[in-house]
Amino acid sequence: MIQKRIVVTGMGVIAPNANGLENFKNALYEGKSGLRLQDKLKELAFGCQVAGVPEGIDDLKKSYFKDEELVAMNSAMTYACIAAVDAWRDAGLTVPKWDEDVLHEDSGAIIGTGIGGIDTLNDKVIPMTNSGQVRRLGSAMVEQVMASSVSAKMSGLFALGNQVTTNSCACSTGTEAIIMGAQRIRDGMANRMLVGGAEGSGYCAWAGFDAMRVLNRNSNDNPGGASRPMSATAKGFIPGSGAGVLVIEDLETAKARGARIYAEILGYNINSGGMRRGGSMTSPSGYSVQRCIRSALLHAGVKADQIDYINGHLTATGADPQEIASWQAALEVADGKFPSINSTKSMIGHSLGAAGAIECAATLVQMHHGFVHGSINCEDIHEKIKHIEKSVVKKSINKEINIAAKASFGFGDVNSCIIFRKWREK
């Protein structure tokens, strides 16, 4: 089996607190929250009326896509495709013209989503079908509601000739997509993959979580303080939306074209807890979270004490202390040796299937620019996290990150973990 080294050469982000990589870097450093009170959620009497929705997209999308393309692009597809174009260009690649006879047979895309085109279903398909207006649905419904909607358009956008598909495993989706793309390259099946995740801004996707009472209902009057990972006053997560896309390549391909390299994907792991040993449909098994982290470290050939920084899953639910305990058990480090840790969700909320991908981009942006962003809203650290409080970065600090770990966990008791190393020419 051929096993290649995988590197990250491009990134694109659409997030509630910033659009574009440079703006995202600045927003993270400044601790800028993108969470807002949403009129629609208020009108519909949601318990939690705060959410993260990327801003300025209606204008931005017109500078990326023609009217003809936008006819069939819902919010998840729009976020995914803008982030992908940004990532492709950031990698130094040229977006081909639609009528150009080019086919990148060595390049593909794995872009995941949790709930995908639910806004299209809610706004058009369901009401029009149920009112007998099927004929008037038009031509653009299927391509916006099929699970692969977030990846399918990229086939044509970039003239991809390799695998183009969508994965879905709830909140682990974005991180899993990156790992699946890396596996494909490492196995010699592709040289370059667009990987990541996207989630639309459909309030119906958030309704079920609100009904489960896992969203924070106590901060409607304070949107910027509503997402409180690791806080003693965390009362649930804040739903978010957006997209994160990376361009990953095998090292030889990247070097041959003189690409700027952000980082190497040293190792990774994906597993499931089997809803045993403490795991359930809605809660991860600590045992298998630890197994996932340990396996990723082993795969990367990295010792726990080499980890400089952790970008946690840390959603601001009661699971945060358990997650910290799992990291500490997996790394087997003393309280004072726990790596720096933060939660990007403190500023952008939980964008479900996009979360892991946006947070991997956040991890790499921090690594590239030498800082760890502040995890806002955790001044009142949770009692069960106090023992590692010195490692919780509350305000942004300049810090060299050589090796970083990112993990995501999802409904279905599924887990994923990636180990990145900053790229240095030797």
């Binding site: 023609k66 009217d67 003809e68 006819v71 639609w98 038009g138 031509s139």
Partner: protein, 80 residues
Amino acid sequence: MDQAVFKDVVKIITPYAKNADMLAKATVETNIHKDLQVNSTRFVDIVLEFEDKFGLTISDEEADKIQTIGDCVSLVSKLK
């Protein structure tokens, strides 16, 4: 030919036309599929917009016969 209908037809087709050059010099002879490169699937949406704009119903059989902008104008003028 009804110039007002012609203008409305071109306006409705505009977001779906991939060939902007041909659209800019569109005439009644301009072929919607070959010249303007409108995706055949999207033509369904154009027909729905004709129905909404002009307050009429276009059958599938009538829609299938449309090739040019002139065909659209004639059909709309006939059904109006």
